[in-house]
């Protein structure tokens, strides 16, 4: 027999509900803690959502944050933060920093003069400095972007819930959505705890996490539906364990191929998309966990209507397609 790398043995018999109260409890605690963290510490909004300006600087001489700060404080332009950016893909003489200038009270538009002043002041202390990226968003647009982002996540959740409800049962729709929200909320919590920059690309990542988390859950529920028709008398708890064990190899396989590409991206993809990729990695890990330990738990609590007529109609819908 040829060699096969198998992360999951051919036949597994794991009781995923053995520690159901523990895992369920951990999930609830994590979610509550995340909500509290977001509420208390707040998210570190980037210019997309908060307004203001970020300037990326690049120079051949090392970044001296204190020198930059002194130069910019002299301008008296209010709230300024400076961080050095490091990345393994940078050349030895490539020194990058990110200067962030807070939005100005009562000003809707972007102030081009401020940008020019900042650039002038930095050029004065380091003539070799260049500004490869300048982003400026007025408070008006950023306010709209926040609502758009919230709208996107809500619309995504509702759309998915309706689809699952139509294709499966309402219990599964609820389980899926609970798992999805768990993933998104915990990711947000981690963003709040570590005060990572939260901008539009993180919203894209959150939406992709929704998609991934659902994808994972749907595959298990699809199998559960098939088993419900096959084993009419098996207790729901055993059947869910059987289903999860049958699909475990696939769950691990897909999570690992996706993680492989994401890890490659986080190492070699450059610092510009690092936040996005990190959110995705968290999402894949959380998504796999919540599928196994969250979505199924909820379905078990709610029970599934196992009348004499399992949803045959749904099953044949695609099976008739000539593949």
């Amino acid at each position: 027999m040829a060699f096969r790398l198998k992360l999951v043995p051919e036949k597994t018999d794991i009781d995923f509900f053995h520690i159901q109260w523990l895992t369920f409890g951990i999930s609830i605690v994590l979610m509550v803690a995340s909500i509290i963290c977001v509420g208390v510490m707040g998210l570190n909004f980037g210019v997309d959502f908060k307004g203001g300006t970020t300037i990326r600087t690049e120079s051949t001489t090392p970044v001296e944050i204190s020198v930059y700060r002194d130069a910019l404080d002299a301008l008296q332009i209010g709230d300024v933060s400076i961080t050095e950016v490091t990345d393994p893909s940078f050349r030895d003489d490539q020194h990058v920093a990110q200067v962030r200038i807070g939005p100005r009270e009562g000003e809707e538009a972007v102030t081009a003069e401020v940008i020019a002043e900042v650039e002038g002041a930095l050029k004065a202390i380091d003539p070799a400095i260049t500004f490869p990226q300048v982003e400026s968003v007025g408070p008006k647009v950023s306010g709209e972007l926040i609502w758009k982002a919230i709208g996107a996540v809500v619309a995504g959740t509702i759309g998915i819930m309706i689809y699952i409800w139509m294709r499966f049962e309402w219990q599964m729709a609820l389980g899926t959505v609970a798992a999805m929200l768990h993933d998104v909320i915990v990711t947000l919590g981690i963003w709040a705890v570590f005060q990572l920059k939260f901008d539009l690309s993180i919203v894209a990542a959150l939406l992709t996490i929704l998609g991934y988390s659902v994808n994972d859950t749907v595959v298990i529920f699809d199998r559960l539906r098939e088993n419900l028709a096959k084993y009419k008398t098996m207790p729901l708890r055993d059947m869910m364990n059987l289903t999860a064990n049958e699909t475990l190899s696939r769950t691990v396989m897909t999570a690992s191929t996706t993680l492989i590409s994401l890890i490659v991206l986080i190492i070699w993809g450059g610092d510009v998309i690092r936040g996005f990729v990190f959110a995705m990695i968290l999402g894949v890990l959380l998504g796999t966990y919540s599928t196994l330990y969250m979505a199924k738990n909820i379905v078990l609590f709610l029970g599934v209507n196992r009348g004499d007529k399992p949803k045959k109609r749904d099953k044949s819908e695609f099976a008739n397609v000539d593949a």
Binding site: K6, K148, G211, M253, S256, G269
Partner: protein, 555 residues
């Protein structure tokens, strides 16, 4: 295993071959792009090509597809601006130019209405006080003659002005229908002007589009900074009306003191000597529309504001029979002869050859000055070096990611892993081909979408292979197991892909900029991976089984 019908095999083959062909130009990005630029330049010059353009065109064979994925601002570098057009500026100008008209209309009624004066009012309102309120009915009737119906789909049947009496005051307001129509016109005009300005700078593939009711998005690749872009579109086209001294064909004629020698735009080799001080300038122009003169020939009608009207009226009265020059950006657009005194501040320019020409002139005249101020809500600049770094990082990640996933699939599924890898590689190729053909812009998040697709695209194959393994374990023959695997996995694949497409669609619909770039590749990846993972893999496995006819297979 039911064999795939011949037509389906051919279709799959054709799609794959098309994908390879259409993706090829991206492997020779520089050459293909130079070729495309040359072809466009030659088409613009109506088929006339310089030797350099001929050489550029020859870099890429004409019979091959040459479309490449356009690179987004974050990869090529450039500037992005979101501007709000202050549409209410126009209301104020309207009211200011309405006042002299109203005053003139009330003048013959002086014995009924008494003295007339303008009272202070908000910007979008004109308030006129009359000293004798008994004449109000007559005054309102006179004002009513100033209104015109609004020409829009929604505002049909409404007039542009609402006229009411409040005590001794006549209050004239723009109706909502007229405001809406005016806003649309203002934004449209601003768009035209910006487009003219940006096109003049000759940058590649600028995006200039309307967003929402009063915003304009401007993205110009290759420009140094947002500040540079702002100064480019902020420059008003300089339009003036000047006295003509003489007409000449001598390019080196001496115009004399305080005069200018300017080329004619329409007639080559013709120059005009004009007085340097304009009679009226484009700042005084309110509107220009294509129209027709008394003889039915195409013309452009234009209208000045009150100050412009007075200056223009005085000048035309004194200079009947002599030409005056309409000068735009130091070129004489036309030099009509003044036929009569033009008192009302409006006039027409005759001499256009056809309707296209008069329309173009009207656009140019209108495009002369931005109709309203602009406020910049968002501006982003990305330097070309950062873009180049991002491309390099994206390429590295794509190559390493691809190799890693391919190796992992072979480790886990052996021979079948290679089958999945064929599908994976074809998937990326077809994605690139579709992106190039539809001209979807590739952004850094877009590259992330492609790399992520590599990871997620194999999901369909994993589902199928896991299912085949199970069917083999039950003891089905290889062919039966493969068929059952594909069939049973299909509903799970569909469900997961549809939910994925749904989130992608929402991202595209609600998002902007980076989110959209990601959503496009993400959705496309789902669709192409469905094709390659299901149909292509199935065909490859089928061919393998028919060729080897193995007694047993190991997945």
């Amino acid at each position: 295993m039911t064999p795939t019908p011949l037509w389906k095999r051919l279709l799959i083959l054709v799609v794959c071959l098309w994908g390879v062909l259409a993706a090829t130009p991206n492997a020779f990005y520089q050459r293909a792009e130079t070729h495309n630029d040359a072809v466009n330049a030659i088409a613009k010059a109506k088929g006339v090509a310089t030797p350099a353009q001929e050489a550029d065109r020859a870099l890429w064979p004409n019979w091959l597809p040459s479309a490449v994925m356009p690179l987004g601002l974050d990869l090529r570098g450039g500037a992005h601006l979101l501007a709000r057009v202050e549409v209410s500026d126009v209301y104020k100008a309207r009211m200011n130019s309405l006042w002299p008209e109203a005053r003139d209309a009330l003048r013959p009624l002086r014995d009924q209405v008494g003295a007339v004066r303008r009272a202070p009012s908000p910007e979008d309102t004109l308030r006129i006080t009359i000293s004798n309120p008994d004449g109000m009915t007559a005054a309102l009737a006179a004002m009513q003659k100033l209104t015109t119906p609004v020409m829009t789909l929604t505002g049909a049947g409404q007039n542009d002005l609402s006229i009411t009496a409040e005590g001794n005051d006549i209050v004239i307001r723009l109706t909502d229908a007229e405001k809406a129509a005016s806003d649309v016109r203002t934004v449209q005009q601003s768009l035209e002007i910006i487009r003219n300005r940006v096109d003049q700078a000759g940058t590649r593939e600028p995006t200039i589009q309307r967003q929402g009711s009063d915003r304009i998005l401007i993205q110009v690749p290759g420009i140094g900074s947002a500040a540079e872009l702002k100064s480019l579109i902020g420059t008003t086209a300089k339009l003036t009306f000047n006295r003509v001294i003489s007409r000449t064909t001598d390019a080196s004629a001496n115009p004399g003191a305080r005069n200018l020698l300017l080329p004619s735009k329409g007639e080559s080799g013709v120059y005009y000597i004009i007085e340097e001080t304009p009679v009226v300038s484009g700042d005084d122009l309110v509107d220009a529309q294509p129209s027709f003169d008394q003889n039915g020939a195409p013309a452009v009608s234009f209208r000045f504001d009150s100050t412009g009207a007075r200056k223009f009226g005085d000048y035309t009265a004194e200079n009947i029979g002599s030409p005056f020059a309409i000068v735009l950006d130091n070129q004489v657009i036309s030099a009509p002869v003044i036929q009569s005194h033009i008192p009302g501040g409006s006039g027409i320019i005759t001499g256009s050859q056809n309707v296209e020409e008069s329309t173009e002139l009207a656009v140019l005249l209108r495009a002369g000055a931005l109709p309203a101020g602009m406020e910049f809500l968002e501006e982003r600049t990305i330097g070309p070096e950062l873009g180049a770094d991002s491309i390099a990082a994206g390429k590295t990640a794509a190559v390493i990611g691809g190799v890693a996933v391919i190796a992992y699939m072979v480790l886990c599924y052996g021979m079948f892993g290679w089958f999945a890898n064929i599908a994976l590689v074809l998937n990326i190729i077809i994605m690139v081909a579709v992106l190039s053909t539809i001209g979807a812009t590739l952004t850094l998040p877009g590259i992330a979408g492609i790399v992520l697709t590599m990871g997620m695209a194999v999901d369909a194959n994993v589902l199928i292979f896991e299912r085949i393994r199970e069917e083999l374990r039950i003891g089905l023959s290889p062919a039966r197991a493969v068929e059952a695997g594909f069939e049973r996995a299909f509903s799970a694949i569909m469900d997961s892909n549809i939910t994925g497409l749904m989130t992608g669609f929402i991202m595209y619909w609600i998002g902007s900029g980076p989110v959209r770039g990601f959503a496009v590749t993400f959705m496309l990846g789902i669709i192409t991976s469905l094709f390659t993972a299901v149909y292509v893999t199935r065909l490859v496995i089928e061919l393998y089984l028919n060729w080897k006819r193995p007694k047993a297979i190991v997945v």
